[in-house]
Symmetry: C3
């Protein structure tokens, strides 16, 4: 049974950002040599999401506004989680909306469209491998 595991690291310059990781995933699926199987792409940080959708700037803008409406960042004191000294409770909520991971079936020639990676900047490198 063939398998390939790879840990990817991302840093985005702002509090939130979208990174299209589809080319990277395609490359890894190709490198795995698996012609039919499952590919699990999951965010290892609990304020990050992996989702599949259009890589279209207008849509990303809409997601930003929408997530901010459903789970506003401020006032940060509105969240009990922030009493721990963090200010990212909203990101823990937003990530539940956007989802944590995506599975797709990897077949030769299969191309997932618009896999994007919503990434909270803070604590990115320090904690991305922790959960």
């Amino acid at each position: 049974l063939k398998s390939l595991t790879e840990h990817l690291w991302f840093e985005v310059p702002n509090r939130r950002g979208f990174v299209n990781i589809t080319p990277k995933i395609e490359e890894l699926v190709h490198r795995s040599g698996v012609s039919e199987g499952l590919c699990l792409v999951n965010a290892m940080h609990i304020t990050a999401s992996v989702f599949i959708n259009d890589d279209e700037p207008g849509l990303h803008h809409d997601y930003e506004l929408w997530l901010e409406k459903l789970a506003p960042h401020a006032p940060t004191t509105a969240y009990r989680h922030n009493r721990t000294g963090e200010d990212n409770a909203d990101a823990h909520l937003k990530r539940q909306i956007m989802g944590r991971c995506r599975n797709y079936q990897g077949q030769t020639g299969f191309r997932p469209v618009g896999t994007n990676f919503l990434r909270r900047i803070r604590r990115a490198t320090a904690e991305a491998g922790a959960g």
Copy 2:
């Protein structure tokens, strides 16, 4: 290692619709000959969802109202994505709530209850295989 892949196509008459695909999935799991394994059921269109819940008309009605409240279709000009000429930005948001795919463990005799398929009608056949 046994596996079976099948691409299913659906068309619904209205902008949104619920299709119970559980019988179809059960049939495919049976046909695969796999007695213990994983079954991935994922929507190949980025405004569609696959979810598991009651196939109960009242609940579907509640989902409709709720999704429309969280991500209203109109005014379509409120979404930057719609400047691309589409009018379905809300569906891209709604689908994040309902989820894209469901995995379940397929064992002989296992019956997933209420697998439903939320499907946006527009562009259904043209793009369902594209992502």
Copy 3:
């Protein structure tokens, strides 16, 4: 191909509750003898969720308030699903936000952080195996 399936049962004393099942999952992954593979943890009740996040009381409190804001329990008559004699339509909605299942890659030494189990108390034992 090694595999292990286990059905876990939970009861929580109130309408909603959070149960950290990470230690149990780790134990099962260890017991499976699988050193590299996929682990599917899915809620078999359609008003329950499995999600991965901090096991932090403040965050759980935030999730409670947030889910209640997005999909209020009362008035129960606001939901058509409740005409069936149930009063849990809101839980069917909340569960869509929190997600149904989580996959993670099980490698020796891998530790998923903060797997929690959101569980509606009612009908817990009677229906947990039904879907």
